[in-house]
């Protein structure tokens, strides 16, 4: 039996888990694991032809369970997601294994558990990405859910509560998916993709409806789609720093991967589009698109109100997922390319942002936006990384986020969807507002007395951040590089491919060439700098030498404008934050609690989460065995 490249990769990944498990307590686990991630990445790069239209690589491992064949293989889609997964895992782990780890240990954290959880996450994600049929997909799905729970819950306290909430959601999602799989099995008689493809074409509308709802709900929960988004922000924000960078970068995208695989590849956008909602003009695709758009808007505007840097970023993570889904369900060549490219772009800048924020926490001990300020003079490199990240997140040139959002906008324009277009732009504007709040409250404004003597983040943390910043800029300058991979993904799932170039996209109805745009932009900066710096030298003054209506400022006065940053805006929209989804969640929870109370005589348990959890576990166990 010869090992295929995929086997090699999975093997390395498994070895990483084992190394973290058995050697992690004694030896410097961080460095070892990081190197092993590097090896995994190398072995993934050996599969690079996949990213340029190569044939799928199967695994030699095939299992037979209950008459079902379980198989694993890698195609362009899997490779693309695996690249992002391993890249972010490598950089997050690298980031973690220096000074951050020591500090984490001093603070009472369990470094071993952290690395183990990371390794488990990577391993399970690879398993999921490699799945060759629906059953292996489901197994991978469960593994990912539990591995994620481990990472989220490890910080204890608030984190555990958030993780419990997550796993509850995940179990509900799993049940939905399981239901979907069961339904598919009933109609197709098999869980192999080929069989399903043929079965889908013969399915009736109600049947298809059922499946679409079940799958998109199940996968959507992982992705944080509205209205199942509530778990995500607290869970990611409470994960230890590099872990949140990793999770924020890729974890939710597993949901997108599954949606891509099942809804786009197996069911086909055309089939979904044929599902009309009675008495309205919209169909299931529009429904998904609107869900995507609301997923963009609401979490983004919720992020604007956050006062904790990590919560703010985590909420944005949910919002950005909306762009990906939006691009995918528009599903023309540019839209799908934009959505898929955004997965890559989002992973890069989200990881960079979480890392920069973690660097700030590492130095100052807080991520409270109202307790920071003016750090740019102390942590200029972290500032640069955060700046690059937020430009990417906001989708402004010259960073990579612009390209993917541009593609999504163009597809909406081409397809003639004005409302979706406007809604997407509202999301972008909201993003700009909230990321400015982020960078302003951390790095700009008044430097507080207690931060007078802090230093720049250590190099072990700085280098991964700088690498990410470089990737963000380079893929912004040359979007053709990731677009090539995206194109092969599109081919693999049966979507049309845009006419991409190294610098962007060519199209009859308006093209984009980032090389020119960025070139001109930097030329403009150059001329601006020439004009500016030719005008005589300037002198830096102390921050207390500042206009204060003619008064003298002293260091003990807090004059940083940070809390309720967009007060004027909140006068209008503040009343719209009603927490309806929270209310919905609470009412469902109390309903379950009420039911469990009713059954107290039997189970003697009133904890809804535990109840749901155990039920779900039981169901899964019953199914799998």
């Amino acid at each position: 039996m010869t090992l295929t490249l995929l086997d090699e990769l999975l093997l390395f990944s498994g070895v990483t888990v084992l190394v973290a498990l058995f050697l992690g307590r004694r030896l410097p686990a961080g460095w070892m694991v990081t190197i092993l991630y590097g090896i995994q990445l190398l072995s993934l790069l050996k599969m690079a032809p996949l990213g340029y239209g190569g044939d799928p690589i199967p695994s030699t491992l095939i299992l037979e369970v209950m008459g079902q064949t379980l198989s694993w293989r890698f195609d362009a889609l899997s490779w693309y997601f695996a690249l992002i997964t391993l890249g972010s895992a490598l950089l997050s782990s690298w980031y973690a294994c220096g000074e951050w780890e020591q500090r984490f240990r001093q603070a009472g954290g369990n470094v071993w558990l952290f690395h183990l959880a990371m390794a488990l996450n990577v391993f399970s994600m690879l398993i999921l990405l490699a799945s060759g049929d629906l059953l292996s997909l489901f197994i991978g799905w469960e593994l990912v859910s539990w591995a994620g729970f481990l990472l989220m819950a490890m910080a204890g306290g608030v984190a555990t509560r958030a993780a419990m909430r997550y796993i509850t959601y995940a179990m509900v999602g799993a049940m939905a998916i399981f239901g979907g799989i069961a339904l598919v099995y009933v109609s197709a008689g098999s869980l192999q993709y080929d069989a399903i493809l043929t079965a889908v074409s013969q399915m009736g509308t109600p049947h298809l409806w059922m499946l679409v709802i079940l799958f998109s709900a199940g996968f959507g929960i992982k992705m944080g789609l509205m209205p199942f988004h509530l778990w995500q922000a607290p869970a990611y924000a409470e994960t230890p720093g590099p872990g949140s960078a990793f999770l924020g970068a890729i974890s939710s995208r597993m949901g997108l991967f599954a949606i891509l695989l099942v809804l786009v590849k197996l069911f086909g956008i055309v089939n979904i589009e044929s599902l009309k909602i009675p008495f309205t003009l919209i169909d299931a695709r529009d429904l998904l698109a609107w869900i995507a758009v609301f997923t963009i808007i609401f979490p983004t505007f919720t992020a604007m109100k956050q006062n904790d840097a990590r919560e703010l970023l985590a909420w944005h993570g949910i919002g950005q997922g909306g762009y990906m889904l939006l691009g995918l369900v528009v599903a023309d060549a540019m839209g799908a390319a934009g959505g898929l490219l955004h997965v890559f772009n989002h992973a890069t800048y989200q990881a960079a942002l979480f890392m920069a924020v973690t660097a700030v926490i590492h130095r100052t001990g807080t991520s409270d936006l109202n307790k920071l300020g003016g750090l740019v003079v102390r942590m200029p490199l972290s500032f640069m990384v955060l700046l690059v990240g937020i430009i990417g997140l906001a989708g402004l040139p010259p960073m990579n986020g612009f390209v993917s959002k541009w593609l999504v906008y163009r597809s909406l324009l081409n397809e003639g969807m004005p409302l979706l277009f406007v809604a997407a732009v509202i999301g972008t504007l909201g993003t700009i507002l909230s990321v400015y709040k982020l960078i302003h409250n951390i790095f700009l404004g008044q430097l507080r007395v207690e931060h007078e003597h802090i230093k720049e983040a250590p190099w072990s943390m700085m280098i991964p951040m700088l690498i990410l910043a470089a990737i963000i800029f380079i893929t912004g300058l040359l979007p053709g590089i990731p677009l090539a991979w995206v194109a092969s993904v599109q081919e693999a799932v049966g979507l049309s491919v845009p006419n991409y170039t190294l610098g962007g996209v060519e199209s009859a109805s308006g093209s984009l060439d980032m090389i020119w745009v960025i070139g001109v932009l930097f030329a403009g900066f150059g001329i601006g700098a020439l004009v500016f710096y030719s005008a005589g030298k300037s002198k830096r003054v102390h921050q207390l030498d500042n206009y204060a209506g003619g008064h003298f400022l002293t260091a003990d006065i807090r004059y940083q404008y940070s809390d309720n940053f967009y007060a004027g805006l909140m006068h209008l929209i503040g009343g719209w934050y009603r927490g309806s989804f929270l209310w919905l969640e609470k009412s469902v929870k109390s309903l379950v609690e009420f039911l469990s109370l009713g059954m107290q005589g039997i189970y003697r348990r009133a904890n809804a989460e535990f109840y749901l959890l155990s039920t779900a576990l039981f169901v899964i166990a019953w199914v799998v065995i």
Binding site: P418, Y436, F443, V517, V520, F525, F532, L569
Partner: protein, 298 residues
């Protein structure tokens, strides 16, 4: 296109924009003076101001980002000018298109926001918060308008948008074809200029001129340059979208100045809104007009 020619265009376009922008600043101040029954500044006043500010002997900086912010504010507009076709010069308009242009026009705001943030002045920060809020307000009708125009033209390429308008003379102008969008665009443009009643982020009596509070010398000079670029870009963009661009420099400049004169004349007759009133206004009328306009287009 020959590379040399292109390079000459890329140099000339911002230069022309700057000079025309200075004249627009002058026009704005002269219109204000006329409405206020006074004489107004001399012809070269905008230039005097900028040269003087750049020639200041001591310049107060609050740090690197303060400097970079101003460079970004100027550079972003310089870059944006090359994406904005003028008669006889297209620059790289075909390589970016209108969406890119709109995004490039946000770069100066972002640069300014960063620079002001570093100044550590609460007035400036409030000003930036208000400026970004105003951006949220006027960009929504603006993108509706842009969507409508681009959809009607079937392209995001500004050169083609202008060409389609010029194809049939006056009747094919965007303003004639899509009057509702043109009105919505005018309101959005007025708001994007930040003049009364939409002047929420300058507001001297409230936040001591907001973002400009710590800007002096070349920093303020940079903002003056940015202002002239802003006036030029906004009015030329409007002319390109709705008034068929320009076939000759004469009608191009005539249209641009006339378009700019409308909001500027209105501005000095109004006080400023509160932030939420601005939002309410911008999200109500122009958005409604724009959406109806799009419905007609589609």
């Amino acid at each position: 296109m020959a590379p040399l020619e292109l390079i000459i265009e890329l140099v000339l376009m911002p230069l022309v924009a700057f000079i025309v922008g200075l004249m627009m600043v002058l026009m704005m101040r002269r219109i204000a003076a006329k409405l206020q029954r006074r004489v107004g500044p001399p012809f070269f006043q905008p230039l005097y101001d900028i040269v003087k500010l750049h020639g200041k002997r001591t310049q107060v900086s609050h740090g690197m980002i303060h400097d970079i912010g101003i460079v970004m504010a100027m550079g972003g507009y310089i870059a944006a000018e090359t994406l904005l076709p003028v008669p006889g010069m297209n620059g790289i308009a075909e390589k970016g298109g209108i969406i890119t242009l709109l995004y490039l026009m946000m770069i100066p705001s972002l640069g300014l926001a960063l620079g002001v943030g570093q100044c550590a002045n609460p007035n400036g920060s409030i000003g930036i918060a208000r400026a970004l809020t105003a951006m949220l307000a006027y960009d929504i009708p603006l993108v509706i308008v842009v969507f409508g125009v681009a959809y009607a033209a079937g392209t995001t390429n500004l050169v083609e948008i202008i060409a389609t308008q010029q194809a049939g003379g006056f009747e094919t102008w965007g303003a004639v074809q899509m009057p509702l969008l043109a009105i919505a665009g005018l309101i959005a443009m007025h708001a994007s200029l930040g003049k009364q009643p939409f002047e929420i982020y300058i507001a001297p009596a409230e936040i001591a001129t907001g973002p400009m509070v710590e800007m002096g010398g070349k920093y303020l000079g940079g903002l003056f340059v940015m202002q002239s670029f802003q006036l030029y870009t906004t009015s030329v963009l409007y002319v390109s979208l709705f008034l068929g661009g320009g076939t000759t420099w004469f009608d191009f400049l005539l249209k641009s100045f006339l378009v700019l004169a409308i909001p500027v004349s209105i501005a000095y007759l109004f006080p400023r809104y509160r932030t939420e009133d601005l939002l309410r206004l911008m999200w109500k009328w122009p958005v409604m007009l724009g959406l109806i306009g799009i419905a007609f287009v589609m």
